[in-house]
């Protein structure tokens, strides 16, 4: 059995060599289809990553009364940290806040010279869990925090969050529809190309049946060839995509991960790449099998 399978795989490669341009057409079609799908995946992934990072940076700031005591501060921190929406709390003292402000003013520190007392309040910087990053949840949280003792003011960028959520929804919607349309289109094109390649071999199938091949015997080599073509096509697409990605980074003179702001931070993870190759193989094998079965019925 293993012997026969090995034989079949060898035959498949020989036949692919024989198929020449016709076989190459199938591989290229699958490669182009997967290249498009891959570009789309890469963009969505990186946009998603960029958005996640923006979200992460997005914080709720709780400004504190200048007269707050150490005990009040500790109690307040505990209460805030216990809130379900809060993922993390960082305390920034008046001195630290001033320090940060000075850094931002770099070169124009003299502006602050006339100041006697430090005017900047101490604050808590809150990081919010993803599931609470909605305008409604944030408004509720802010309302609650404002009423706590020792809190002077609560700031959060509601508008920014609203806009962000809307943009994300639009991107996801566009991504989904483009993905569906492209997926269907590539399936059609691929199955058509594979069918053409197989019709060119109708004579071979006829002879195999004439000398007593079972349907399975006829199908097996075509199935294997389809699997190989599909896998190779998808692999080729990944190589092209990786090349294009690297070239883009090079053009921008950036290292991977350095351009999150542009939404181009990382290549597809190996799991996704493997899944794409597997999908290509499945597509090729399925298209091949479908076309052979049609010929066998005729």
């Amino acid at each position: 059995m293993i012997d026969r399978l090995r034989h079949a795989v060898t035959d498949a490669f020989t036949n692919l060599g024989r198929a020449g341009w016709g076989g190459l057409a199938s591989v290229c079609t699958i490669a182009v289809a997967f290249l498009i799908v891959g570009i789309f995946l890469l963009l969505t992934q990186n946009l998603g990553a960029a958005l996640a990072q923006w979200r992460d940076q997005y914080q709720v700031t709780v400004f504190l009364d200048d007269g707050i005591t150490a005990d009040q501060l500790a109690l307040l921190k505990k209460r805030i940290a216990n809130e379900r929406a809060v993922r993390g709390v960082a305390f920034i003292s008046k001195a630290e806040a001033l320090q940060a402000f000075k850094r931002e003013l770099k070169g124009r520190e003299s502006l602050l010279e006339g100041l006697g007392e430090n005017p900047i309040p101490a604050s808590f910087q809150l990081r919010i869990r993803d599931e609470y990053q909605t305008p409604e949840a944030l408004r509720q949280l802010a309302g609650f925090l404002t009423r706590l003792e020792g809190v002077e003011e609560v700031q959060y960028g509601q508008e920014w969050v609203d806009r962000m959520a809307a943009v994300l929804r639009v991107i996801q919607l566009i991504g989904l529809s483009v993905g569906i349309v492209l997926g269907l289109a590539s399936l059609l094109i691929v199955s058509n190309t594979v069918r053409l390649a197989i019709y060119a071999r109708a004579e071979e199938i006829e002879i195999m049946r004439l000398v007593g091949a079972t349907k399975m015997t006829v199908r097996l080599p075509f199935l294997l060839e389809g699997l190989i073509q599909g896998g190779v096509g998808a692999g080729l697409a990944l190589c092209l995509l990786l090349g294009a990605y690297r070239a883009t980074l090079y053009q921008l003179q950036l290292a991977p991960g350095q351009i999150y702001g542009l939404g181009l931070g990382s290549f597809l993870p190996s799991g996704t790449a493997a899944a794409l190759v597997a999908a290509g193989a499945a597509l090729g094998g399925f298209g091949s099998l479908l076309s052979v079965s049609r010929l066998l019925r005729a």
Binding site: D11, E204, E206, I207, M208, V211, G212
Partner: protein, 223 residues
């Protein structure tokens, strides 16, 4: 070996290819199916290797009722039959050896056994030295020999030849007929369909004359 009883084959639009055909070809016989083109010779052969089923009537091949044969069992029938065509039907994109090796693979032979079988049938048709040639670079006679070699790969009990000499001149045709005779001498039942009266007169021992789908005449040697 081949028995037909009141076989009719009607195609769409009432084209009657075969009308009430009853015939017997005995085991080990060398028989001719003669008649002009369009007489139904090809249709009759196709019924034997179950490429088609008759509209009515019964057909027994080696004792097996091929009319009632399920699709699943057709391959088993075909492995007992070799078929040769006028246009050879050789695959142009591979060598003589590869054309024959395809059959070995289909029959599930191990690679070593397949190689031996290919060498054996090539020797039988006298083309051992042509194993690596591309079929269309061979002469017509040689191509037909390759086709015959392919038909012999499965050691058939029956060899069907549809106008095997149709594309060959008289001399090459005689060569092919001699080859078929040799194969017949080794025990294979041979049925040759041809419109070539000359060939039938010279080689015919058991002749079935077909005309407009009917067997109009049948004679055996010495009768």
């Amino acid at each position: 070996m081949i028995q037909m009883y009141h076989v009719y084959k009607t195609y769409a639009r009432d084209v009657e290819a075969l009308v009430d055909v009853t015939l017997h070809v005995e085991k080990g016989e060398f028989a001719f199916l003669a008649g002009p083109s369009g007489a139904g010779k090809t249709s009759l052969l196709r019924l034997i290797y179950r490429d088609e089923v008759p509209t009515s009537g019964q057909i027994l091949v080696n004792g097996r009722n091929v009319v009632k044969l399920s699709q699943r069992h057709v391959p088993h029938l075909r492995r007992t039959i070799g078929v040769v065509f006028q246009d050879f039907k050789l695959l142009r994109d591979r060598t003589v050896y590869e054309n024959l090796a395809l059959v070995a693979r289909v029959l599930g032979m191990r690679p070593a056994a397949g190689k031996r079988k290919v060498a054996q049938v090539l020797r039988l048709v006298g083309l051992s030295h042509r194993a690596n040639a591309i079929p269309y670079k061979l002469s017509g006679g040689e191509q037909q020999r390759v086709a015959i070699a392919r038909a012999l790969m499965n050691d058939p009990m029956i060899l069907l030849a549809d106008e095997p000499t149709g594309n060959l001149d008289a001399e090459l045709a005689a060569d092919i007929l001699h080859l078929l005779r040799e194969i017949n001498a080794k025990g294979t039942t041979v049925l040759v369909a041809t419109h070539d009266q000359e060939l039938v007169r010279e080689y015919g021992r058991h002749v079935l004359m077909l005309k407009q789908g009917r067997v109009v005449e049948e004679y055996r040697d010495g009768r």
